[in-house]
């Protein structure tokens, strides 16, 4: 979108000498957190088997870089795969549910019930069906992340303004026309907004499944490190997860902004 580009181009036009504290803040706060953590560990003389200092964690990352890297990629792979399936299925089911008031009314309670089930409880069943490894991790990531997508897409469709619908119906529009011209474009901001929530949930799903039922992935790496009392490595795994989570979240936020700039603009204008 050209508007977005214009906006981005306009930012650096400010005087360069001024420090942009807002842009720096996330980095400063992160560094601050690590410093605080380091000081706390030193002050309380924590043994690394309980709470390792960040310096110790970074050291562990360097020391175990090869397994960390391999397992991080594995987790990223199961998470994104499960998430991708969730996007496709969530979009499809969301459109289906939002299609008619009857389907919406009939399936919504079922969906709520399904969402109330802790997905962790499904992992043993998935293991019985598919064995341990990549598949249950992918499926858990999928199961846990597709619900917010479905709900958001269905809500976007179900909340079309009746007046807009009337204008189109009076012209002889069929249900399909209304969905294509209004429903689907309208639900896109909801959809892209839900991706941010879904991707973080997908990480939760894949890591939980890897922890209890896999020989690969950060979840598995952390649980075996824990059984060897290698606490710095556990924290290194957590840190990698946080990094992956932030990166994917940022990607989703960026996609959201690219695809539905009009939604931010139009609500701002009101």
């Amino acid at each position: 979108m050209s508007i977005a580009a214009e906006n981005a181009a306009a930012t650096p036009a400010k005087p360069l000498a001024r420090i942009n504290w807002v842009a720096l803040a996330p980095w400063l706060y992160t560094i601050g957190l690590f410093v605080l953590w380091e000081l706390l560990v030193i002050a309380l003389e924590m043994p690394p088997t309980i709470l390792p200092a960040p310096s110790r964690v970074f050291q562990a990352i360097l020391q175990y870089w090869s397994p960390i890297w391999k397992n991080s990629l594995q987790t990223l792979y199961t998470t994104t795969l499960g998430f991708a399936i969730a996007v496709v299925a969530g979009l499809g089911i969301g459109l289906f549910i939002g299609w008619s008031k009857t389907i919406y009314a009939g399936l919504y309670p079922l969906m709520i019930g399904f969402n109330a089930i802790p997905k962790v409880a499904l992992v043993p069943i998935l293991v019985i069906w598919f064995g341990i490894g990549t598949i249950p991790a992918v499926l858990t990531a999928f199961l846990i992340s597709f619900f917010p997508i479905v709900v958001n897409v269905a809500t976007g469709l179900a909340t079309i303004e009746p007046e807009t619908e009337d204008v189109l119906r009076a012209l002889g529009a069929r249900k399909m026309d209304i969905m294509l011209k209004v429903g689907i474009p309208r639900s896109m901001p909801y959809f892209f907004g839900s991706l941010k929530i879904a991707i973080t949930l997908a990480f939760v799903g894949s890591v939980v499944s890897e922890t209890v039922a896999s020989n690969y992935g950060l979840g598995n790496m952390m649980s075996s490190a824990q059984s060897q009392f290698n606490v710095p490595l556990v924290f290194a795994g957590l840190l990698m997860l946080a990094v992956e989570g932030i990166a994917m979240y940022a990607l989703m936020a960026w996609i959201e902004k690219r695809m539905t700039g009009w939604a931010h603009r139009s609500t701002m204008a009101q």
């Binding site: 303004e161 009009w262 603009r265």
Partner: protein, 266 residues
């Protein structure tokens, strides 16, 4: 009168109830006729069924009793010879103003198959309409980049793009300031004069009704029916100065009295 022999819109003794047998009876025993090329205005107390009347004529609602006939045909489904505009402009925010105006052409049977091939021709037409309502050059803007009054003008263009024989306007100027409103009155007046389109305007503004319409229907409180029908005697073309004449104000006054009475009677 000649036009009553073959009215474009004919509503006969219509009953319309919302929400099943025990629901709200919105209109009851409603009858009115609008001749081809005529400009009709409908006024009445709030909640008396004016918007319902609009939806009955366009076929968005089918009445439980009586009949609605538009262009010689009983209405049983949405009629595509109408254009509609509401108080709320309902522009789609992800489309440019021009694409919003072209939207009806993507729907209406007669145009949707021609649209791709004859795009340039249609775009030109949309731009002519934009010019008529004073929005020349704003086609590429998004609706949220336009003011409320500008959106309402674009909304009128959208209602007109497929050359409807019948234009249904439901309080289209309600949310606008007095000056913009008067300006748009003139736009509508000129469109009506130039294109010979039949217009039904629902409004709360009695001066608006008197200034624009050939005929004014006064409705009763809910369940709505037509209490009285006025023929507006002022010659066309009408100028805004008309509103300062005594005859005009007398008519507005009379309408005001009738609606006040209809409210009390409820």
């Amino acid at each position: 009168m000649a036009h009553l022999v073959s009215p474009l819109v004919s509503i006969e003794n219509v009953d319309m109830r919302y929400g099943g047998a025990n629901g709200t009876l919105a209109v009851s025993g409603l009858s009115m006729k609008v001749g081809k090329g005529e400009f009709a205005a409908v006024v009445g107390p709030s909640g008396c069924g004016k918007s319902t009347l609009m939806k009955l004529v366009t076929g968005l609602h089918i009445p439980q009793g009586g009949g609605v006939i538009v262009a010689g045909k009983q209405v049983t489904e949405p009629v595509s010879i109408v254009g509609m505009a509401f108080q709320n402009p309902t522009m789609l925010p992800w489309r440019t103003t021009l694409d919003n105006i072209l939207l009806p052409l993507e729907i209406v049977e007669r145009h949707r198959h021609r649209l791709r091939k004859h795009k340039a021709e249609y775009v030109e037409k949309a731009e002519r309409l934009l010019e008529t309502v004073g929005l020349k050059g704003f086609g590429s803007k998004f609706p949220w980049q336009l003011s409320g009054g500008m959106q309402q003008r674009a909304n009128l263009c959208r209602a007109l793009i497929h050359e409807p024989e019948l234009l249904m306007l439901d309080e289209p100027f309600g949310a606008l300031d007095a000056f913009t409103r008067e300006e748009l009155w003139c736009v509508i007046r000129d469109l009506h004069a130039a294109q010979g389109v039949t217009i039904v305007l629902v409004t709360h503004d009695l001066r608006e009704a008197t200034f624009l319409a050939d005929r004014i229907f006064v409705m009763s409180a809910r369940p709505g029916r037509v209490l009285k029908e006025h023929v507006v005697p002022f010659a066309r073309p009408r100028e805004l100065d008309l509103m300062y004449e005594k005859g005009f104000n007398d008519m507005v006054h009379e309408l005001h009295g009738e609606i006040a009475q209809a409210r009390v009677a409820a």
